[in-house]
């Protein structure tokens, strides 16, 4: 029983952390080298592709997806997809995919060398080669250079508030069961009111 309980909580925390890591925004400092679009037929990895209903037909199985090819500031390659999230999950409410692609292709001019243009790509999601999944770029902002450090204020505030919410619910939950146990030993069963 001990291992079952332990395993349950371990699984719970792994899933929660993975979920938050996937969903919360993250910043990369990159130089964009190319932008393109490619036809995608999501299969088993459909969960990791957006299926935004922003006016387009959602019945079609395959569609063209924008991609942004780049190099991170440690010179490792990174490829982003650029898809609307629309009104769905995760709640980024992104509708400006085509505009973002225009910005990305503007940033790919002068992609390497001394005067390379570095940008901060705000994104969510994971790059995984085995599943063929790509993080979704949400916004692109020019930055001064490859060593710019971005403090994730939103994530800090969000996680603190989420922790406070969990704590508040947990404290009330514990108190609820404690008063229950107290009440179980009152005049009804021990006769010493």
């Amino acid at each position: 029983m001990f291992y079952v309980k332990w395993g349950f909580w371990a699984l719970f925390w792994i899933v929660l952390v993975a979920f938050l890591h996937y969903t919360l925004p993250d910043h990369d400092i990159v130089r964009i080298t190319d932008t393109y679009e490619r036809r995608i037929e999501p299969g088993d990895n459909a969960l990791f592709w957006s299926n935004a209903d922003t006016g387009d037909n959602t019945q079609a199985s395959g569609r063209d997806v924008f991609f942004i090819q780049s190099f991170l500031n440690d010179e490792k390659p990174m490829v982003y997809r650029n898809e609307d999230t629309g009104w769905g999950w995760p709640p980024y409410f992104k509708f400006d995919t085509s505009n973002l692609q225009a910005q990305a292709s503007d940033a790919k001019m002068n992609a390497s060398g001394e005067n390379a243009r570095w940008v901060d790509v705000l994104h969510y999601g994971w790059r995984n080669e085995f599943l063929s999944i790509y993080p979704n770029a949400v916004s692109i902002t020019p930055v001064a250079g490859p060593d710019v450090r971005i403090i994730p204020w939103f994530n800090i505030v969000f996680l603190v508030l989420l922790g406070a919410l969990f704590w508040a619910i947990r404290a009330r939950w514990k108190r609820f069961w404690r008063t229950r146990e107290d009440r179980a030993g009152d005049e009804w069963n021990d006769g010493t009111a």
């Binding site: 922003t54 009104w87 769905g88 709640p91 409410f93 509708f95 400006d96 916004s139």
Partner: protein, 88 residues
Amino acid sequence: MLALFRLLIFGLIFLTVVYFGLSWYFRSERRRRMERDWEAAGRPGSRDAYVEAGMEQYQQSLRRRLIWLVYVVPVTAVIVIIYVTNYM
């Protein structure tokens, strides 16, 4: 457009559940506090009348009206996110 309505309807249902859950919880907390108050005050008069008078005050209070933030905060957050993501 269907996705927008789906978000609105499910969002409204979810927030309404939260709203009623919270208002029930805060009301029962307040009632318990009034009952304890009545004892601390030396049991003045009828307990029910004391508690009811306190609850009457609570119904009018700002504290109770703040529960409407359950609706206000998420809607504001969505509008802000839409602006930041698409227009900034």
